[in-house]
C-alpha cells in the first residue's frame, strides 16, 4: 500500500479494500516510529487527522469521493491551517496557532484529503539544507548523516521515507526541486501565479510559488489539479481556465525538442550528477526526443540577482513580526524599540537575520539603484534568455542541483557555498517559469541525483508528460530508502 500510486490508493479506498481511517493510522504509526530519527514533521495531530479520515470515509461511503479523498497528505509548515500550529520553522511562530486556512489547505480539505501533519523546513523557507529550522535538522532517508535539501526538506524526506502519501512544498529559489532531487522524489513548481499564495507565509512574494512533492510525475499531476485555480484573495493569482494536468501524460515523446543550456553543464557541476543527467538524456533520445544546444548567457547572474531581490522582499515581508499582534515577544524590554529589537533578535535565527540585513542594506538610501534596480534589470535579461531559448526547444533539461546530498554541517560556516546549491534552479523563479525535478539515478555515495525539467509558461501538462514517459521507461522514481 505504501508504494501505491495516488491513483491506486484512491481506487483501493473507493473499492473499500482499506478505509481512510486505516490508511491514516498506518501513516501515523509510521510517523510515530520513524519521525524521531528523520525529524520530517514539526507537528502532528492524530485526533484531527483521524477526524478528517472519518469524514473522508463518509464521503467514500456516499459515493462522493474525489481523486484524493481519504489520502493522507503532509503539509509544509508554511501553510496556515486553521487550529494547527503553523511555525514556518521559526521560533518567531513556534506557538502560532493559525486562525484560518491557506487556499491550498482549503482545496485539500474540500477534496476530503487528510492533513497528516506539518513538515519541517528551513526557517521562513530560507535555506537549502533544512539546517536553519528552529526545530532541528531533517535527516535524509537515504543516509541519515546527510541533508534532505531545503527549504522543503521535511516534505521531501517524508515522501521518500513513506511517512505520507504525498506532500506540498513551496519554491522561491529551488525549495521544491532541490530537496526533491536530494531525496530521490518528484516535485514541480508551477508557473508563478498558478497556485494561490493566500495563507502561505511570505518570504519573497514575487518569487514564492507552491507545488506538489510526490513519488511520481503522475502523482504530481493529480495534486496539481487540486492545488491550482484562481483565488481572488491573492492579487497575483491568475484568472485562467481550470485545466487537467494529467491530460497529456500518455502522449508519446517522438519529436520532442529538449534544450540543453551549455551553462548548466559547465564548471561547478559534479561529474557523478553530470553522468546521471547524460544517461537520462540518452533515455529521452531512445524515446524519440531530440536534443538542441541552447544558451542562457545571463544565468550565471541568477544567484547574485536572487540574493538582492529575495532578501529585499523578505526584509519587507518579515517586518510584520514585531511582537505585537502575534508571534514571539521577548520576555524583557525597557521600551517599545527594545521590545521590537529583542523580540526579533530572539525570534529569528541567524540565516533569517542575515537575509533581513542584506535586504535592508540594498533597499537603503544611496544603494537602491546600484543593487535593487540593477538586479531587477538583470532579472529581465534572464527572463529574455529563456524566451529566446524556447524558440528552439519545447522543454529545457539539466541538473537540478550541482551535487548529490552533502553532509549535515558541511556547508555550515559559509553562506555563499550554501547559496550556490541553487545555481540551476533560481533563474526559473526569477523568470516565473515552471520547473520540475525527477530522480534520474544515484551519484556519489549512492545518493539520488535529480533531472531538472523547465517548461515554458503554463506548460506544466507537457512537463508532466515528459516526466511520466521517462518514469514509464525507468524505475528510479520507485526506488525507496525504506
Amino acid at each position: 500500500m505504501l508504494n501505491y500510486s495516488l491513483k491506486q490508493m484512491g481506487a483501493a479506498l473507493r473499492a473499500k479494500e482499506i478505509s481512510s481511517v486505516e490508511l491514516t493510522r498506518l501513516y501515523l504509526e509510521r510517523i510515530a516510529a520513524h519521525n524521531p530519527v528523520y525529524n520530517a514533521y514539526i507537528t502532528t495531530d492524530e485526533k484531527t487527522s483521524l477526524e478528517q479520515a472519518c469524514l473522508a470515509d463518509e464521503m467514500l461511503a456516499k459515493g462522493e469521493a474525489q481523486p484524493l479523498t481519504g489520502i493522507p497528505i503532509a503539509q509544509k509548515d508554511i501553510f496556515c491551517a486553521k487550529g494547527w500550529r503553523t511555525t514556518c520553522g521559526s521560533r518567531m511562530l513556534s506557538d502560532f496557532i493559525a486562525p484560518y486556512d491557506a487556499h491550498v489547505i482549503e482545496q485539500f480539505n474540500k477534496a476530503g484529503a487528510i492533513n497528516l501533519g506539518k513538515t519541517n523546513m528551513d526557517e521562513f523557507a530560507m535555506g537549502s539544507s533544512n539546517e536553519t529550522s528552529y526545530f532541528g535538522s531533517v535527516r535524509n532517508p537515504w543516509d541519515q548523516e546527510r541533508v534532505p535539501g531545503g527549504s522543503s526538506g521535511g516534505a521531501a524526506a517524508a515522501v521518500a521515507a513513506r511517512l505520507c502519501a504525498a506532500a506540498t512544498g513551496t519554491d522561491t529559489g529551488g525549495s521544491i526541486r532541490q530537496p526533491a532531487a536530494l531525496c530521490g522524489i518528484s516535485g514541480i513548481k508551477p508557473t508563478y501565479g498558478t497556485v494561490s499564495r493566500y495563507g502561505m507565509i511570505a518570504f519573497a512574494s514575487s518569487l514564492d510559488q507552491a507545488g506538489p512533492m510526490a513519488r511520481s510525475a503522475e502523482d504530481c499531476a493529480l495534486l496539481l489539479n487540486l492545488m491550482t485555480g484562481f483565488d481572488e484573495r491573492d492579487s497575483t493569482s491568475l484568472q485562467r481556465e481550470k485545466e487537467d494536468y494529467a491530460r497529456d501524460l500518455d502522449q508519446p515523446l517522438k519529436g520532442l525538442r529538449i534544450g540543453l543550456p551549455k551553462e548548466f553543464f559547465a564548471e561547478g557541476l559534479s561529474s557523478d550528477v553530470a553522468s546521471r543527467v547524460e544517461e537520462a538524456l540518452s533515455e529521452y533520445r531512445k524515446l524519440g526526443a531530440v536534443t538542441v544546444d541552447i544558451s542562457l548567457p545571463n544565468s550565471r547572474l541568477a544567484v547574485p540577482v536572487y540574493y538582492v531581490l529575495a532578501p529585499a522582499e523578505a526584509s519587507s515581508n518579515l517586518s510584520r513580526y514585531d511582537g505585537v499582534r502575534y508571534g514571539y515577544r521577548a520576555p524583557e524590554y525597557a521600551d517599545l524599540s527594545e521590545m521590537y529589537e529583542q523580540s526579533r533578535s530572539q525570534g529569528f535565527g541567524a540565516e533569517v537575520k542575515r537575509r533581513i540585513m542584506i535586504g535592508t542594506y540594498v533597499l537603503s538610501h544611496g544603494y537602491y539603484d546600484a543593487y535593487y534596480l540593477q538586479a531587477q534589470k538583470i532579472r529581465r535579461l534572464i527572463a529574455q534568455d529563456f524566451a529566446e531559448a524556447f524558440k528552439s526547444c519545447d522543454v529545457i533539461m539539466g541538473p537540478t542541483s550541482p551535487s548529490t546530498s552533502f553532509r549535515l554541517g558541511e556547508k555550515g560556516d559559509d553562506p555563499v557555498q550554501m547559496y550556490l546549491s541553487d545555481i540551476y534552479t533560481i533563474a526559473v523563479n526569477l523568470a516565473g517559469l515552471p520547473g520540475m525535478s525527477i530522480p534520474c539515478g544515484f551519484g556519489a555515495n549512492n545518493m539520488p541525483a535529480g533531472l531538472q525539467i523547465i517548461g515554458n509558461y503554463f506548460d506544466e501538462a507537457r512537463m508532466l508528460n515528459v516526466a511520466h514517459q521517462y518514469q514509464l521507461a525507468t524505475d528510479w522514481h520507485s526506488r525507496s530508502p525504506v
Binding site: F96, I97, P99, Y192, G193, S206, T236, L238, R300, L301, P304, V305, Y307, V308, S315, S319, D322, G323, V324, R325, Y326, G327, Y328, R329, Y333, D335, S337, E338, M339, Y340, E341, Q342, R344, S345, K353, R354, I356, M357, I358, T360, Y361, V362, Y371, L373, Q374, A375, Q376, K377, I378, R379, R380, L381, A383, D414, P415, V416, Y419, L430, A431, G432
Partner: protein
C-alpha cells in the same frame, strides 16, 4: 566589497535587530562575502533595460468596495502576546 562595522550597526538598527559586538563582527564578515557575490552584477550593462519587478506583467485587479471579511477580532486577538479590552498592549510610547 567590504562592509564596515558602522554599516552593519546601521543596518541592524534599521532592521530592528539587537546585536552584540560579536554578532556584528560575524555578520560583517559573512555579509561582505555575500556582497562580493552580488558585486558580479555591476559588470553588466543594463542601460535601456526595463526593470522587472514581477514574474508576470499584471495590472492590479479591482473589486467592488464591499464587506468581504467577517469580524474575527476575538479569534485574531486570542493569539496576541498581550491584549486588554480588545486592544493590543505595547510599552507606553507617549508620556
Amino acid at each position: 566589497m567590504s562592509l564596515s562595522t558602522d554599516d552593519v550597526q546601521k543596518v541592524a538598527r534599521l532592521a530592528r535587530l539587537a546585536m552584540n559586538d560579536d554578532e556584528i563582527e560575524a555578520a560583517r564578515s559573512q555579509l561582505s562575502g555575500i556582497f562580493q557575490l552580488i558585486e558580479e552584477m555591476q559588470a553588466v550593462d543594463t542601460s535601456g533595460i526595463e526593470p522587472m519587478s514581477h514574474a508576470q506583467d499584471l495590472t492590479q485587479r479591482l473589486r467592488e468596495d464591499r464587506v468581504t471579511e467577517p469580524d474575527q477580532r476575538e479569534l485574531f486577538q486570542s493569539i496576541a502576546p498581550q491584549v486588554s479590552s480588545g486592544l493590543y498592549l505595547v510599552p507606553q510610547v507617549i508620556e
